[in-house]
Symmetry: D2
Subunit: 306 residues, 4 copies
């Protein structure tokens, strides 16, 4: 049962066309609001090395929350199980930037993919790394197999200037004793990593270790153990899409992570990674065409993990 993947991608482009123009660009910071809305790209990379793409698969965009996956992966490789003393593994059930649960649960964020959890993970990185920003960038470049991955400084500055909500979250974490470094330092690195620009091709490459039991394909170097990799994927499944994680699991059936830049990366262990991008978001902050594209992909290919 050989599948014509290119044809599936082409069909997806056709069948999602009716969604063009639907949704809203992330406009909470001026820099993000400048993106051209109509763009749409897909990059599918099989674990055997073959690859398929369509549309704007080589245009870079702000990866935003997708960066939380890299930060967590690095923290787990540095700290192992100790990560889970300071952050949970349960879906939040509420909006991604909610302060409610944090208050009820005494400063232990529900999971590492809500903002609060990612801030705690970033705090761990600052404590563990001698040059946190440079070391994290190095790590991401290694996963992407490419040196030319950069932070978009204008986006980072814009985030820092208007990030009152995240400053509220970080101060609350500090009050609960779950931030060890200075609040400003944690916020800075958090915004830096969210402001990285990557394209679908690069993202599909950088997620291959998660489909490969923790090794960068073509190397023997284990970045994560198989068990750590399983857990990273499980977390993407449970918590990768803010309070729409259940919906993504239900309709798509792959572990993945979205960002408010409009990107989504998903994967099937041992089979493939796939990155989609389209900047217009639904009210939960996930790319409308991206969600639909992935739903069509698993339906057409039959390649859901469930």
């Amino acid at each position: 049962m050989s599948i014509d993947y290119q044809r599936i991608l082409d069909e997806i482009v056709e069948e999602t066309a009716f969604l063009k123009g639907k949704g809203k660009i992330a406009d909470y910071i001026p820099e993000l609001a400048k993106v051209v809305p109509g763009q749409f790209g897909i990059y599918l990379r099989m674990m055997d090395g073959t690859a398929y793409h369509t549309g704007d698969a080589f245009t870079r965009f702000s990866i935003q929350s997708i960066s939380k996956v890299f930060a967590l992966s690095l923290a787990v490789s540095l700290l192992g199980e100790k990560v889970w003393q300071r952050v949970g593994v349960e879906p939040s059930g509420t909006a991604f930037n909610s302060l409610l649960q944090l208050e009820y649960e005494k400063g232990i964020p529900r999971n590492p993919f809500i903002n609060a959890g990612a801030l705690v993970v970033v705090d761990m990185l600052i404590s563990e790394l001698s040059h946190p920003k440079e070391d994290l960038m190095e790590y991401i470049r290694m996963l992407a197999g490419k040196q030319e991955i950069y932070i978009n400084e204008r986006v980072a500055d814009s985030e820092k200037q208007f990030g009152y909500r995240n400053a509220a979250v970080a101060n609350l974490l500090k009050d609960f004793g779950n931030i060890n470094n200075r609040v400003e330092e944690v916020l800075d690195l958090y915004y830096d990593m969210c402001s990285i620009d990557m394209n679908c091709e690069e993202l599909s490459q950088s997620f291959r270790i998660f489909a490969n039991h923790g090794k960068v394909p073509g190397t023997d170097k284990p970045i994560l153990t198989p068990s750590q990799t399983k857990r990273q994927n499980a977390l993407m499944q449970s918590c990768g899409f803010y309070d729409e994680s259940g919906e993504f699991t239900f309709t798509v059936g792959l572990p993945g992570k979205s960002g408010v830049g409009g990107g989504i990366v998903a994967l099937f262990p041992e089979k493939f990674t796939i990155a989609v991008w389209s900047p217009l978001l639904n009210e939960k902050g996930n790319s409308i065409m991206g969600m639909k594209a992935l739903e069509l992909f698993t339906t057409k290919s039959g390649l859901s993990i469930f």
Copy 2:
């Protein structure tokens, strides 16, 4: 890489022995509290028909919330997509019998596996079936491939007598207009299905359709479509373990469903179904030895979906 499954089961028995006596039997109704705590059974059934078991795999126990999977499956086969107009697909993030979200979200339960959601599903069954109780039992017997599946009437009576919390939930749903039949009728069928007695062998059999794209193995009869089956499994992954669903996904990495009788059924599509049972529960209402047994199983076998 042939795996010695029997040896894995035997190792699990050894390695979970330290947990014996830990936890608490469900004691909210007198009948459930009568179970002998030390019991422990596993039944593993591969999709190729081979099977392995250990311990009390043939002792029947109260399936409790596991029955919600059968009810949902039957409702989806009767009503298709219409089910999702009255119940959501997101994890709840709070205790399984919480009234909080129901009130905020205007009577639409978060998912069909919290009590509120299951009550709505049961209400659908009452509206659709001519003999709801008999028809549901017939459906479960068909999935289990066995006529001798019964409701434990003493348990059912006990539940009905002390079920003030569920009566609160059902009345609230009725107030929001999301129960169409009489509150008492809905509660009665809900308690009846929760009070079914089954053993690990029977449960592992009855879940095979979910590992077989919706067909009872050995038949050509599609009970669910492949897409409906995928979604049913996705929901078990997201929402199958109350507010410990993330933890189960994280440590075990299989879709499954637990009940306060101490049973858990999990599955790997196209590969196997597995049922475990041990009555002592953690504070979230899930079997302590059952959770550990399944974690050890996927770690030892490498057979997690992630």
Copy 3:
């Protein structure tokens, strides 16, 4: 500084005329929805015995939640301080029928004037009285100085038939162990007392003990001690208007109690009681013209307790 109260009442009628037709009749039960909306009455009764009235001050209406004051007063006279072991004295901060707090606070209602609290008070009365319904009616008639006070049976039946929300609350209380009698029995007496019909003249009379340190004026019989009376008034101030209690305190500045029948009774200790009635409600469930009338009354007379 003698005040021309009749003129003040007349001015209020003029100055509230612009509100005629604004708001919504309580329509959650068909019987209540039948009331003629345009009605408006005020009855002011000074502690020296003089009285003033205007409009429909002698037309009876459903007193609804105002009855909770009578129930509490009777419970306190029977049980004293023990009442406060099962119900709190803090404003709820949320809608009057909310289940949220009840769940967080383990079945101890915030105060005796939210539905949950009143149900617990009614449960106390059932335990303490030999003929709860008759004895409560007798008590109210004694306070009103009049035998002809009755339950509107059509309203009571209608409440019982559609009261799913209160059934949810009562079952939740029962689950938490804070209802000792049968749920149905508690709901029945609760609905009976809410369905009493009284007019402004009768209500202003029946609240006189609260402005008279606990004695029915003209008698020597202390129904409540001065301290119990102070507390009853304090509770009306803090909690008498659902989640609009702060607003009423802020704009009117008198202790009082409202009902969804459109009635409000307020009082100034040692000075006066005042009852207003107009059936059209704001979204918090309080009479729009009644609230405005009382605000104008304290502003014009200078007679706020603050």
Copy 4:
């Protein structure tokens, strides 16, 4: 019925002696934790000018949240009704520094006496005053009839250094658009005013305008209108004691305001003001001996507003 106030104060000292050593000093900042716990003072000032005192009535302490009354009073005198567009008048029903309601209610604090509300009031003052800190101090000195009222700079510095929770609240308000000035500027003035040192004698003097329809006694200068004064008192009644406001209303029956420095000021319009101080707090943050002293005072004197 002349009352021997001095004897009442003396009795209170005796009858609260059993509470000595009960409770906990506010220790969230090191400077506050340095206070000597056993201190206890009362200053009662009748509106006719007579005064009574006992214990440490002339020892200064950190007025903390009592300062919120001064800030609100000044804001109302500057902005009138416009204040209520940005802050509510309802009790919060939750802990005084809760972020929950703020998030649900979109950045409009429940009332001006929770921290969030006071921060918004302080933001108003910064926008309206040319020298906010100096002008606010001038206002308080005018009310106290005394120039020697100062900010305790060590306390203020300590608050600024450890105030992560308030920084979280202020950033959240800023995110919702309900802070117009810089977050740091607002926090600084907030901490400055909380760090003012005053004694019972000074506090009882400075609250006299609220018992005098808005005029400083002995002057003709109306600081607030009678209606504004009524509302200020009403707010103290509803919201002056964090989530123990109902309890204070219930047991004491006077409008008042507490601070975590252990001070409480209360008043009876046209009759008296009273300030008590004892540093050991209950878990709600209110002075244990102070609450008891005021309860005894109104019980013994019969002088509750209810």
